[in-house]
Amino acid sequence: MRFELTRPPHLRPARSVTRVMGEVLLALVPATIAWVWFFGPGILYNMAVATLVAVACEAGALRLRDRALHPHLADLSAVVTAVLLAFCLPPLTPWWITATGAAFAILFAKQLYGGLGYNPFNPAMAGYVVLLISFPEQLTRWPWPQAGLGEITPVALGAWETLRFTLTGALPAGVSWDALSGATPLDDLRTRLSLAATVEQVRAGPLYGLVGGRGWEWIALWTGVGGLYLLWRRVIRWQIPLAVIAGLCLPATLAWLLAPATFPPPTFHLFSGAALLCAFFIATDPVSAATSPAGRLVYGFGIGALIFIIRSWGGYPDGVAFAVLLLNMAVPAIDHFTRPRTYGHAG
């Protein structure tokens, strides 16, 4: 009797790229819900636009490069890039901005380098940075969080009005940006600190919650829960998240202890802005991260420390995207110097 030859090892593998990416998307669900709760449905529209454009660009680029469509679209990596990009954009973003970011991320930051696995930079962050530089005003206009702001009653757009804004970029008649939006807590803090307020005074304001920005802290919390889920499912390993958090919190704690009036506590850093999103979802993008365990610690710590530096002294309120892109550049060097010791080899 003759038999068909197969490929060893013969067990069924438990993982696939599609599953890894699918789990990442799943882990983002609680944070998305929190986001909608505090900032309205805008993020959902942004996700839809970004995903559509990202997948279309991916398909187009694969066509041009004469590659098979199915396995690459089914791996969901373009969707993850799109969703992460949407997480960084303000809920009220006109579609063409989102689309530009997604297209840049997929076409320039990913496919031009050879597609999945070959991109040296995190595509979502590359797309975001391009938007931040091209549309600085639109990207820093955040609506007030919609829950429990006390004395000021926020003006909020409903689902339809948000959709209309996303599609046309026009606010409903009689609603002005001033009434609708403010700054993000990180932005607000840095502006007012530069006007000689103390951290304590600033944090007494309505934008701030228990530990971080109002609303933001809950989003961060649910992002962290999603991150723990990924850790539990072994989709990501502990080194990068821990190192990012350590890299951010160690200098933050030190600075806060030395000058509590000008530096917010580390918990504030963690629970405002995209710090935890970065720790669990962005910095852990395998393709552009360092690959050895020790290298990942260095890489994560570098990102965390850079976030702190940019937030404290840099020109942008949140430094996640720049920190990640800078460390992406350092990856070949980090990998070179952190090769693990092989079994049976000294040192």
């Binding site: 490929r7 004469d66 590659r67 098979a68 469509l69 396995p71 690459h72 597609g115 999945l116 696995g117 530089i133 020109g315 720049f322 892109l325 800078l326 550049m329 350092a330 070949p332 060097a333 070179h336 110097f337």
Partner: protein, 184 residues
């Protein structure tokens, strides 16, 4: 903005320098370049590269008068190794020199051999044993497969045969599964 670009460029440069430093720091100095080129050539001494043997070809490469893709017995691996050594781009074998063939050894059909010694004179590595008017034979382990002995034989008794693959010489094939990334 400009400051940011400058910082990014600076950091990129720094890491580039670090890698470059590592490359220089751990480089090993070695033999003169002709020797190192010669060490990569298969030493078949067949002359298909249009030189009188591997060493002259190595000298020509070192002098820059010959390209690195002229050695058929060495095949892809040799071209690639030469490209690495000389920091050039590998290129396909020059079809003028010949084509890549599996390695062979010469076998003399001994009853036919008339003992003319012409093949002995042709063999660059003294792989043929025999004396005038005596039957000749090839020492298979020394034969490089250069085929130089085939033409001089007046009775055509030398054949080139492929070396059979045994359990010892068998090589795992390169995985053939097409990458999904490759052509549709």
């Amino acid at each position: 903005m400009i400051a940011a670009v400058a910082v990014i460029a600076g950091i990129a440069l720094l890491f580039g320098l670090a890698l470059g430093f590592a490359a220089v720091r751990f480089r090993t100095e070695g033999d003169p370049v002709v020797d190192r080129i010669d060490a990569l050539l298969p030493q078949t001494q067949c002359g298909q590269c249009s030189f009188a043997g591997c060493r002259p070809y190595a000298e020509a490469i070192a002098a820059g008068t010959a390209d690195i893709n002229r050695c058929p017995p060495g095949g892809e691996a040799t071209i690639r190794a030469l490209a690495d050594l000389l920091e050039r781009d590998p290129k396909p074998l020059d079809p003028e020199s010949g084509e890549i063939k599996p390695r062979t050894v010469a076998v003399i059909d001994e009853p036919l051999c008339i003992g003319c010694t012409l093949c002995i004179q042709a063999c660059p590595v003294d792989a043929i044993l025999g004396a005038g008017k005596q039957m000749h034979t090839v020492i298979a382990s020394e034969c490089t497969g250069c085929e130089l002995c085939v033409a001089p034989c007046p009775v055509d008794c030398i054949a080139m045969v492929e070396e059979p693959v045994t359990l010892k010489t068998w090589k795992w094939p390169r995985p053939a599964e097409p990458l999904a990334a490759e052509r549709r």
